[in-house]
Symmetry: C2
Subunit: 624 residues, 2 copies
Amino acid sequence: MPSVHFLPDGVTAEVPAGTLIHEAAVRAGLTRLELPCGGQGSCGLCLVEVSAAGREPVTVMACQTKVREDITVRLPEAQSLAMQVVGDSHFLLSEDTLPDRASLSPLFSYMPLTVPPASIEEHYSDWLRLERELTRAGAPAPFSADLALLGRLASVLREQDGRIAVALQESDAGTRVAEVFAGHAAPRAFGLAIDIGTTTVAVQLVDLDGGAVIDTTTSYNLQIRRGADIISRIDYARTAERQQELRALVLETINGLVGELTGGHGIAGDAIRAAFIAGNTTMIHLLLGLEPRYIREAPYVPTVNPVPSLDAESVGLSIHPRAAVSFAPGVGSYVGGDITSGLLTTDFLTNHDDVFLFMDIGTNGEIVIGNADWMVACACSAGPAFEGSGIKCGMRASRGAIEQVEIGRDLAGIRYKVVGGSKPAGICGSGLISLLGELFLRGLVDQAGRFNLESGSPRLVETEQGRVFVIERGENTLSGEDLVITEADIENLVRTKGAIYAACSLILENVGLEWNAISRVYIAGGFGRYINVSDAVLIGMLPDLAPARFRYIGNSALTGAYIALLSRERRAKLGNIAAKMTYVDLSSDPRYMDSYVKALFLPHTDMNLFPTVTRRLESTRNTG
Amino acid sequence: MPSVHFLPDGVTAEVPAGTLIHEAAVRAGLTRLELPCGGQGSCGLCLVEVSAAGREPVTVMACQTKVREDITVRLPEAQSLAMQVVGDSHFLLSEDTLPDRASLSPLFSYMPLTVPPASIEEHYSDWLRLERELTRAGAPAPFSADLALLGRLASVLREQDGRIAVALQESDAGTRVAEVFAGHAAPRAFGLAIDIGTTTVAVQLVDLDGGAVIDTTTSYNLQIRRGADIISRIDYARTAERQQELRALVLETINGLVGELTGGHGIAGDAIRAAFIAGNTTMIHLLLGLEPRYIREAPYVPTVNPVPSLDAESVGLSIHPRAAVSFAPGVGSYVGGDITSGLLTTDFLTNHDDVFLFMDIGTNGEIVIGNADWMVACACSAGPAFEGSGIKCGMRASRGAIEQVEIGRDLAGIRYKVVGGSKPAGICGSGLISLLGELFLRGLVDQAGRFNLESGSPRLVETEQGRVFVIERGENTLSGEDLVITEADIENLVRTKGAIYAACSLILENVGLEWNAISRVYIAGGFGRYINVSDAVLIGMLPDLAPARFRYIGNSALTGAYIALLSRERRAKLGNIAAKMTYVDLSSDPRYMDSYVKALFLPHTDMNLFPTVTRRLESTRNTG
């Protein structure tokens, strides 16, 4: 019997001659090679690379090709489903970006110290001697402590010959000594990195000793029921009662996520001693119960920006009541702490030579161009489509979300990847980009974003809601209902990507640069774990640059909050951003509307801007 | 009828020839000329200066001298009863010492500000614009505020075109914005200056707008029931329960005084927004419930020194719970904040040329020598005699206390001055110094401090408690009991003054200076409103220097606390003292005991050190 050696798994199966490669893989225990068209050879989604002794490798369909001799078959890797994986969430970020784990300086930390006893010659008080050791250990002065701690200090210092562990909590002014124990051992302490988005809230539980991420969880911001975007939230929050209502809603969201994390990991809420929060200026005001109206009334000033450090009790977080809560500083009403925090994950704050572009695509899109010496920022109203909100089957990038899609050349076969590997429940941002790209590439959607009924795809059907493309039938979804994308969804997505592209073009024009001057484009947003840059270029959301220039950095606001939670030096960097950044109000620029309208096509009215897309479309439609 | 013109009152009376000068004064409405001997001409306490046209002025007894012609009579002034008034409590201090009232910077203050609105070009947040105005107004950064205040900020700023009043509270690190009002008007705010002595606690109520002293009140420290001096208090405070008991006792003392002040002046406790506390290191530890034992165990280190700023609630003061409570810094276990605070009332911190001596005589005596460049301090265990404690009829310098005494040359007549002008209730520190000086001057007490029974004074009597000198009979006292001084009292006073003189001598020797090198001797302590320096020299408590070199500065710890409460610049000066001061431990100096024993005589075993006393004794006893 011929043997089939599967790569990259390194598994070999002996099968009767004539067995389909697909069957051979299943016999070898490799079941990931799906056949969306049922093995009809129509969708072309089961391509594998086959090599035999003395011959060139060939690419064949596994459902149509039989084994005749000893061969080696290279299967697609699970993850290689995404054609272009450009990044991952921050636990996969490069070590350069993350703070050095050997010398973390979190907002809250336990520090072992040895405080030498006083002598007749040098009889400084217990507290002064402790302060001296804290200074030597690099903690920022001035130091403070409450009376209860001072009351225990004398005996704790003498219990184990001056060996103590102190809990240090950073504040706007110096360091608070929050606890003191005899001996060098200390309990575990945890921190939270929190990103409060207009649509999505993400909370990450971090072990403050070592900086390991224990878990991350997200949910929609419960404030959505009082308005989908910032403007409608500000409008809603006209009265003090409503400000309190919105505050309660976001606190319910955050504390629910915190409870999930602590419950899931058997950690007491009181063990969480610090939180670093990133969010746009309005979200932070609503969290703190501050009147937001002046953010949207000229001259557009927030009440606080940057936000002073607070304690968890006054903020309303269900963690240790005296936990330190710090906020990423905003630059103005429309460049919030989510952006400054996100920049922490890039080379923006360290590189003086190259020019970078940073795009954070949430409900509001914010764009920053520059480097460590100068930064120009602008905002565009993107809408929450890429967060799955306002899209019929849209969802956050959580378990059950389709995050990647391929459509077969038969326009019927489909292959998708679901977060968590379950049946699909909906489709998240990266899935939507991927799906729209595939629909356009396969000719199922035209340049104007309308379904092409002549394409003949069995998945394009007319329903009560108009034309839809059926991604998955109800029998295979978690809800039991068909998973579809509507023409209205596509219109929504096109408007969103158009707003982003138009803003990027205009800010480049403002600083007098061409796309080619940009060394790297950072794409941030809670799309999912991966974003397919080729697809994003295909739909004209991103410019047509070499794929290597793009870097997807996921929810960079959350990653930045994680970094800031752990590193004093990065917190200091954050504090310096405001001085370097200039904000440009695109909405008052008469060229904006023109630029926007041109971008309301797939990929753009001016196809000369997208040469590789033109080539790809030609090659796909010719070889279909 | 001859006319009598009385000076300094400027009153004239016409009286029949042959009228006694004393009677003439009474007719003129001047009744202050008392006749302790009943007009017998025996006590000599009614001396007046008489001048007539063409003749030299003569001094005569008003009870024995008749009016024959037109004369001018100079009566003693009420206050000139004290032969040498060298100072007064701090409301009479020179304006140089007190902070400039036009530019006070109290621990807590209301400040009117106008915060200009933002503009499109300069759209700083409300809080940043407020911070900018605070910085311009000279308030120390960083600034902080709680969330409730930030929540009101936006609307308050816009209510009266940016005109606001802010309540500013100083802390160890910058300034807390405690309140914000629309408009420039603000409520009244009060502060406390507090001196916590081992024996006596003094609390002063101050109007923080303008710095006026509203009232001052004192009482014994209720901790006295657990030990008269520092060592016995520390010994008592062995357990946590007892530390809490001592804490409760001093808080009861302070809060009782605060209640007296607020009740007496119709002020709400909540209107008191700041307190500045001076006290020795042990008293401060006991106030804060801190274990004091390490203060008296080698190497003698306190838990906190200086003490960080706290709020009233955590300290336990019955004033506004978030009132700022600051403490005068100590230098070591035995030079507390009462001393550094007291130095604020002197030229010590500003004069670089002269050399000063500062003596604070409370239960512990502390002595500092030096100037703005260098300071050497020592402590001596004086005991609470001059605070009226441990003296049979001793009392604090409060209403009913005899504060000045004169004994007639008949050794029977006596004249005294009572605080508040009532019947006497006891005798305070200045009264005791005055009394002991008079007893010694009149030969009623010998150099060894024993009563001279041969003197023949009817006031020297034998009682169950041994020999006593009767100051006033029970029918004229508030208690109805005789007011006496016992031989044991005198022994106590002699030990106290001996300890002080011995310490002063030794510290001078230590720095290689003679008494004459001292430009000024500051005498601090709660003796009373006045201290008679001549009497203090007479008993050998003070060195025999020209009276002009002495300055009695009263309760300088309290005065210093008052100054520090009102002036940031003086608070900063206080903070710098520790770096300049060297502490010398006299108790380990073998020369101390010798020096002390020599000082256990009136005025001293070496009469060559007291030449003016020798002359005075001779002149009094010859002419007596």
